[in-house]
Amino acid sequence: MIVTINGKKRRLDVPPMARLLDVLREDCGLTGTKEGCGEGECGACTVLVDGVAVDSCLVPAAHVDGCKVVTVEGAAAAKRSARALQNAFVEHGGAQCGICTPGMIVAACTLKAGCSRDEIKRALAGNLCRCTGYISIFNSVEAALPPARKGPPSRLALRRANARARRR
């Protein structure tokens, strides 16, 4: 089985029904991914598989054959947004005991620039914090996300601008 983990191709000889969580921690030595509940409730073991957030305690190793897996170690090294998230968690007190933090950071990596508070809450709904520091966590994520990027104006916006210009 070949998996790209944090940008590095690895050949793994693991049982097909092994939990991805155990493969990452035991076979790859990537202990940044934490086991919380082991039943998909808490999100501490969140990783990205082909860019999609999943609970690695509920993913069989067979399902990542040929996929790209990103753990918190890789997110921090590879993505500028993850580094911004780390810094914001430090600055805004987003981490207390720290067990949920890797999962929170990885889940937050799926957010796009300019997300609303509600979108942040929805993206992190599957991540539980036993210290209940949710407000600080949301504040950290909000602070780390870049504002919405201004793309080229849409056709509708252009039409409206033209109409305004004609009226003038």
Partner: protein, 281 residues
């Protein structure tokens, strides 16, 4: 005790056809897909199965199609949802949002993003938990389940699918390949009641359609999801909410368990009926 992964066998067919052939030869194989239920059972030692067949890679079981194609029901107006469609895909689907908003509402309340990205509609049906959140919606929507074996295909109306607690008419060599939902006339309503607003297993779920035909389906109040026909008939016939609530109490049989009590569920089911009827007037 977690099960040692080395003792678990996994068949990985590359097509639906070969999956069905494997199952007809060896019906003891347990189908798996998003694994959001199976891996919980394995980790906590509550699942006896040790040999599995993996459907996750079968793209033939994915996709959401409306009308046409002859398969989507009478007059080609229905909706066909592939069994491997995830809750995230349901939430993002413009056609499901438009035609079955109660299914989108239910999908949004199933776990968090991580579960919604992996859990499948077919899996929720096959797992057959009385607390399966999508199940009351499918009952209220009068959905049909498409089952296929190496021998052929058949369609089962949703309210004939379950035969008892965690038991269904699906044969061991059959796979759920799709769910068909006919056009729904009238207003749709969905409500899940759990310990918290999010990330909680349901104490009770209620899906309803108020239109030319009134349909109400309730989850977690019996061994399988209950289509409350008598209570719906009372409402459709112009009866009072109190009369419908009385009829409903004869149709459901909630029990005490770790999540709630039978008495609470009976009362909340009656309350939800009243709320459904008021909101969809």
């Amino acid at each position: 005790m977690p099960v040692d992964a080395r003792t678990l066998a996994l068949q990985r067919p590359r097509s639906l056809k070969s999956a069905l052939a494997m199952l007809s030869k060896d019906p003891a194989l347990t189908p798996i897909a998003g694994c959001t239920d199976v891996f919980v059972g394995l980790h906590f030692g509550t699942l006896d199965q040790r040999r599995f067949i993996d459907l996750w890679g079968l793209d033939e079981l994915r996709g959401i199609a409306a009308g046409g194609a002859g398969r989507a029901g009478k007059a080609g107006q229905g909706l066909r949802i592939g069994a491997l469609t995830t809750y995230s895909e349901i939430i993002a689907s413009p056609i499901i949002r438009k035609r079955v908003p109660m299914l989108v509402a239910a999908a949004r309340e199933i776990g968090g993003a991580q579960i919604q990205n992996r859990g499948t509609l077919g899996g929720n049906i096959a797992n057959a938990s009385p607390a399966g959140d999508s199940l009351p919606v499918l009952a209220a929507a009068d959905a049909r389940i498409v089952l296929r074996s190496a021998g052929g295909e058949r369609r089962v109306p949703f309210d004939e699918f379950y035969t008892g607690y965690r038991a269904s008419v699906r044969q061991p060599d059959e796979l759920i390949t799709a769910i068909e939902i006919p056009p729904i006339a009238g207003r749709q309503w969905w409500r899940k009641v759990g310990t918290r607003r999010a990330q909680a297993i349901s104490k009770i779920m209620f899906a309803g359609v108020n239109g030319p035909v009134v349909r109400m389906a309730i989850g977690s109040v019996a061994p399988t999801v209950v289509l409350a026909r008598k209570a719906a008939a009372v409402l459709a016939g112009g009866g009072t909410v109190a009369a419908a609530q009385a009829a409903l109490k004869d149709e459901i049989a909630p029990i005490d368990d770790v999540r709630s009590t039978g008495g609470y569920r009976l009362q909340v089911a009656a309350n939800l009926l009243a709320e459904f009827w008021r909101d969809t007037k």
